[in-house]
């Protein structure tokens, strides 16, 4: 019994120590916390921006949960965060469910590349119809006459093409499926576009690293990954024929060019697919990634902070993109984004401080 008493007293003491408030670190006056959640793909550039922006606005702190586009859309719809983030634009149906008007603010661009494992890893040229038919399971061998015709002089093996796709729901898949749906009527009918689709053929790998890992270890494999991942890991990538008939190697510049081509016909809400973009130099499998904010903000201080951050991201922030292997917005689009950010308001009054 005495032992028990000693243990109890000890536990109580421990509880006191653990439960007592730790000394607070000194804080800047009136620190403001902005909460965001959503897409995983742009997380590296966003966290870089939060760091850099802290030097401009030291009283502001960001908390961004990269839980995926689906979670981002749900949380901003329920107003549990101050901004959401998504790799695929919200549908009209989803927008109708939100309690207020939601703006899509493009931040940077990403691209999706076709990568493969062939002896010697030659540079391949792929046409939209070849790509679609491989993923539909209609071209099964590497030395198919159509692939050979697009790649004169390349020795292609007679091996089966082992298709590898993402198994996890992903913006990367959305962009790729969206592209195939635009260039192939059959794909649009049979499969369609989405963050996960019903693949006619192939194996699923989890994440970019899962897809790349399976391709690397499987001779004859072909799959798709993010441009940034392919550049970092120096994977062989296919040049894709764009609308103008040019074979374009995916790079940061050719990705930005895809958005530049779309600038003239940009819809006011930026909910636009950039795949199969026009323009001589445009890489055809590219997309915006967006932040989601309410047009009418409910908290003046937070609203001001978010708006100024968005303006900064579209202007000064863009120079950090290329280092992290994201394609920056072309200047024409950045101007359009600045104008859009200017429309964000509190009680009908614009929040952006005139610069």
């Amino acid at each position: 019994m005495r032992k028990l008493a000693i243990v109890l007293v000890g536990l109580a003491a421990l509880a006191l120590v653990v439960g007592s408030p730790l000394p607070e670190p000194p804080r800047a006056a009136a620190e403001l916390l902005i909460n965001g959640a959503g897409a995983t793909f742009p997380y590296p550039i966003y966290s870089k921006w939060f760091d850099e922006y802290a030097k401009v606005q030291p009283t502001l702190r960001f908390n961004y949960q990269s839980i995926g586009s689906g979670g981002g859309i749900r949380q901003i719809t329920e107003r549990t965060v101050d901004f959401g983030a998504t790799d695929g634009p919200m549908t009209d149906e989803q927008l109708a469910k939100a309690p207020g008007e939601l703006f899509h603010i493009p931040t940077v661009l990403g691209a999706v590349v076709a990568t493969y494992n062939l002896p010697g890893n030659p540079s391949l040229r792929l046409t939209p119809d070849i790509l679609a038919d491989i993923f539909l399971g209609k071209i099964e061998k590497w030395n198919a006459s159509r692939i050979q015709a697009a790649n004169p002089g390349v020795a292609l093996p007679g091996d089966p093409i082992i298709v590898v796709h993402r198994s996890d729901g992903s913006g990367t898949t959305y962009i790729f499926a969206d592209y195939l749906a635009k260039v192939s009527h059959e794909w649009e009918q049979k499969v369609g576009r989405g963050t996960s689709v019903k693949w006619p053929v192939g194996l699923g790998g989890k994440g970019n690293e899962g897809v790349a890992g399976q391709i690397k270890s499987t001779p004859g494999a072909l799959g798709y990954v993010e441009l940034a991942y392919a550049i970092k890991n120096q994977l062989p990538v296919g040049a894709i024929r764009n609308q103008a008939g040019q074979f374009i190697v995916p790079t940061i510049e050719s990705t930005t060019a895809a958005a530049a081509g779309a600038a003239r016909n940009m819809p006011a809400d930026f909910r636009v697919s950039l795949t199969n973009a026009s323009g001589e130099k445009a890489y055809p499998i590219a997309s915006f990634t967006w932040l989601l904010v309410y047009k009418e903000q409910t908290d003046e201080a937070k609203g001001k902070a978010v708006v100024n951050f968005l303006y900064w991201a579209a202007t000064d922030g863009q120079k950090y993109a290329a280092d992290l292997l994201y394609a920056p917005l072309p200047p024409q689009i950045a101007k359009q984004v600045e104008a859009k950010v200017g429309q964000l308001s509190f009680h009908g009054k614009p929040l952006l401080v005139a610069r």
């Binding site: 995983t40 082992i162 499969v191 996960s196 019903k198 693949w199 192939g202 989890k206 399976q214 499987t218």
Partner: protein
């Protein structure tokens, strides 16, 4: 109880009864009540948590339950774009991969435990047991990476072509050898559950009284006969418990399986073909499931995994009960 038993013991002081049990010192009684309440509360917490999980899953899966009903269980179509959802390939994949894993792991695990408990020289037992148990400490993502970069190429270039040549007449060993697929998932699962089976089985075997073995040996039994008749018979319900623990892990394992199973929602008889499990599809698609029905369908898969796990465990307990009915539960 305590009070009435001790009521007559007025001589308690002289008989060196612990002071807290002496009547009149009511502190002990209070301690007893406190102890009972605490233990009951602990049990209640788990009951509430399990029922809470089940209720929440049913609640969140309502849209899918309403839209698909029983068809969800028997259709094999999983098309998030058209919003047609059927869980059959995932249920099949979970059960098939776990079964395959257990078929490999049980002989391996129980065999290792018998060796460690009965046959191995004493000096070799602790290091081998330590090494096997170390397998349990490896994170499953590491198993998955090993599966992609080592196991899958090995299977594709050597094991699967070999199996196809030797046993290709069986539908189990036909089709393109991808490396990743059901066979890879089964092997990875086996490696992951072996340490659990070994650790528990070894404890169970060590708990078998030495007299059992001595009696068998004294009757002229060989080493194998002793193990079979005196040790395994005595320990069988405990061993089944160890296997159940492994099975539970095999059914729920997510990361490593997702990385090597190929993630294709199809039911194929061949072990070379890619498959998909319930845990994998949830892990894969939950984060980007944007529509309500899609999300509800994934939650219904979670509910199904819950039900399947409970059913398999109940079935296995029934098995333990029917086998071990005559033998007393082994205690440590």
């Amino acid at each position: 109880m305590l009070k009435s038993e001790l009521a007559g013991a007025s001589t308690a002081e002289r008989l060196s009864v612990p002071r807290s049990l002496v009547p009149g010192r009511r502190r002990g009684v209070w301690g007893d009540r406190l102890y009972q309440a605490a233990v009951r509360a602990a049990v209640l917490v788990f009951v509430v948590v399990v029922l809470g999980i089940a209720a929440l899953l049913v609640y969140a899966a309502r849209p899918a339950l309403a839209a698909f009903g029983w068809r969800f269980l028997v259709t094999a179509d999983w098309d998030p774009v058209a919003e047609h959802f059927g869980a059959l390939p995932f249920v099949y994949g979970t059960l098939a991969s776990a079964l395959l894993g257990m078929l490999i792991a049980v002989p391996l695990g129980v065999g290792t435990a018998i060796y460690l408990a009965e046959l191995a020289p004493f000096w070799i037992r602790p290091p081998v047991a330590f090494l096997v148990e170390l397998l349990a400490a490896i994170p499953s993502v590491v198993y998955g990476l090993w599966g992609i970069f080592v196991l899958a190429p090995l299977l594709r270039s050597w094991v699967q072509p070999g199996l196809a040549r030797g046993l290709g007449f069986l539908p189990l060993f036909q089709g393109t050898p991808y490396g990743v697929g059901m066979l890879a998932a089964g092997i990875i699962l086996a490696i992951m559950v072996v340490p659990f089976i070994v650790a528990v089985s070894r404890e169970v075997l060590l708990a078998v009284p030495t007299q059992q073995r001595e009696a068998a040996l004294a009757l002229g039994a060989t080493r194998w006969e002793t193990t079979r008749l005196a040790v395994l018979r005595y320990a069988r319900s405990g061993l089944l418990g160890a296997i159940l623990l492994g099975l539970g892990r095999a059914l729920g394992e997510t990361m490593a399986v997702t990385m090597v199973i190929g993630n294709r929602p199809e039911i194929a008889l061949s072990l070379f073909a890619p498959g998909y499990t319930m845990a994998s599809v949830i892990a894969n698609e939950f984060t980007e499931a944007t529509s309500d029905l899609y999300l509800a369908a994934l939650i219904e898969i979670g509910l199904l995994l819950f039900v399947v796990t409970v059913a398999v465990n109940a079935l296995a307990r029934l098995l333990v009960w029917s086998v071990g009915g005559a033998v007393k539960e082994v205690r440590e």
